[in-house]
Amino acid sequence: MNLKELYQEIILDHGKNPRNLGKAENFNKDAKGHNPLCGDKVHVYLKLDENKKIEEVSFEGQGCAISMASASIMTDLIRGKEENEVKEIVEDFLNMIKEAPELKSKNLKDDEKTKLMCLSGVKQYPMRVKCATLSWHTLTTAIDKTQDEIDKENSYNGY
């Protein structure tokens, strides 16, 4: 195991100063994610334009350096991309964290890949994988949400 790989400069930086933190103004999709065992929480806000391109994205959350950095890097990275591209990137990222040695997505530029690979140190810390993936799973939930579900939720506040 290797702490230096886990807590790389860029992780610590994003962890301390997360980008895109806060509730978005005009979001039209959102989702909450939660890890009941450790208490980590995240709330992802998306604004998709008529072409299903992500116009704006932000998140609120509480969590460790890994989870904050992961959300921060993720949100930075998906802005401007299309829904389908984003879903493909999420899958690629989750694969990489789980087992794949590298990222393969054509929707990621090389420097984006480099940035994301900074999170790969987490592979060696199975208990921390959930920290790195929570915001990504939540992003998927938000994207997949139907208008019906959105309406229903507005009348209930689970946690």
Partner: protein
């Protein structure tokens, strides 16, 4: 299949018990443990111990992985579709209580019927009785025929419009009857009735396939499967585990907690409240490996041969009456001897190192039906041999001599 070699894997047979070689014919009660299982417990406690799923430190991570590995092994062993369909419990008794309580809560009301059989162990009757007391649910009994068996026709006869669940044993711990579960499930499902199967006696002895049986719930007792005490498994179809309310509440099974409300965790956590039997679960993986190594169909063959042999010699033994003559039978030899009470038999056999069980074996309804206050039972495990049964026969003759029969 080399039984001598297998027997050597069980340390208890290497020493004398009370100056006798142990002839252990009480496996339906609880099986002996192979060394690999005991060693695993030892190693876990002495080198790797940590609680599961709660801490992020190294030992905790390792323990959590080991714990989940057993879940996967059990899933494969019983061919369940999904590993989240495997819930660890205190025992088969808790597994059945869990279903009766949660299913009862959600789906049963006054006048509804639960169909059980006269073969059921108290563990598959008392939990349903509670619903009779609390909700006015009715309990119907499918009756055994003269062979100590239950036919599919009898089940058919007892199903009514009000039948809401069938709770039935796979292999009777008294008559040895193996019931046609697949047919019963088919029949029940055609009427929209879920089926819970008490698999305590089948799991260590015959091949299980949840996807083939298609039952809704299946209860297993690990200590009868060459595994540790204090552990059981509830198999339940995912749709039920998602649909039913949680059972015990506590740490680990929650989703979120507020002062005014609580949300429950995802499967399988939802049904595993509190610190689980970590060491036992981890060691149970070795039991499964042990069973797999020998192969369950080899075990089944071996025990079938022994059963036939045992029936043969006991039938030849005057005044011994075998209980039950079902169409399909597992490794259980229950019997009585006219003129000698089963307790006296068990005590006298014990003096020769032959361990059997005497009593009603937690099946009082069945014993009432058979008109017996008690019976003697010799039950088989993978380590038994024809010599064990010869010794049984020999000691039975000794009983008869003492009682002047």
């Amino acid at each position: 299949m080399n039984i001598d070699k297998i027997k050597k894997e069980f340390p208890i047979f290497n020493d004398k018990v009370q100056n006798h070689d142990l002839v252990y014919l009480d496996s339906a009660n609880s099986s002996q443990k192979p060394l690999v299982v005991v060693d695993r417990i030892y190693d876990f406690y002495t080198k790797e111990f940590s609680n599961v799923g709660r801490s992020v430190h190294y030992l905790a991570v390792a323990a959590t992985n080991l714990y989940e590995n057993t879940r996967t092994s059990v899933q494969k062993y019983i061919n369940a579709k999904d590993k989240d369909e495997i819930v660890f419990t205190k025992g088969a008794t808790e597994a059945i209580n869990l279903v009766a309580s949660t299913f009862g809560q959600k789906y049963l009301k006054e006048g509804d019927e639960v169909l059980v059989t006269e073969l059921e162990h108290h563990s598959n009757y008392v939990p349903w009785h509670y619903l009779r007391k609390s909700k006015g649910v009715k309990i119907e009994f499918a009756e055994v025929d003269e062979d100590g068996d239950i036919s599919i026709d009898e089940i058919k006869r007892k199903i009514t419009d009000k039948t809401k669940i069938i709770a039935i044993t796979h292999l009777s711990n008294v008559t040895g009857a193996i019931l046609p579960i697949k047919e019963i499930v088919d029949l029940a499902h055609s009427k929209g009735i879920p089926v819970l199967v008490d698999g305590c006696q089948s799991a260590p002895h015959i091949k299980l396939d949840m996807q083939d049986l298609d039952c809704d719930f299946y209860a297993i007792s690990c200590h009868k499967m060459y595994g540790p005490t204090g552990l059981g498994v509830l198999y339940a179809k995912k749709k039920w585990l998602e649909d039913l309310p949680p059972y015990q509440g506590g740490g680990g099974m929650i989703g979120w907690v507020k002062k005014n409300d609580i949300g429950y965790g995802e499967l399988p956590n939802k049904y595993e409240a509190g610190t689980m039997a970590t060491a036992q679960v981890i060691a149970f993986n070795e039991s499964i490996k042990f069973l797999n190594k020998i192969g369950i169909s080899n075990i089944e063959n071996h025990e079938n041969q022994l059963l036939k042999y045992g029936e043969e010699i006991l039938r030849k033994n005057n005044s011994v009456k075998l209980i039950g003559n079902p169409r399909k039978k597992g490794g259980v030899l229950s019997f009585t001897i006219d003129g000698i009470h089963p307790h006296d038999i068990a005590t006298i056999l014990d003096e020769d190192g032959v361990a059997i069980r005497a009593g009603h074996h937690c099946c009082q309804i069945l014993h009432d039906k058979l008109g017996l206050p008690a019976s003697a039972r010799a039950s088989l495990g993978v380590y038994n041999t024809k010599e064990d049964l010869d010794k049984l026969d020999y000691s039975i003759n000794k009983c008869k001599k003492i009682f002047d029969l």
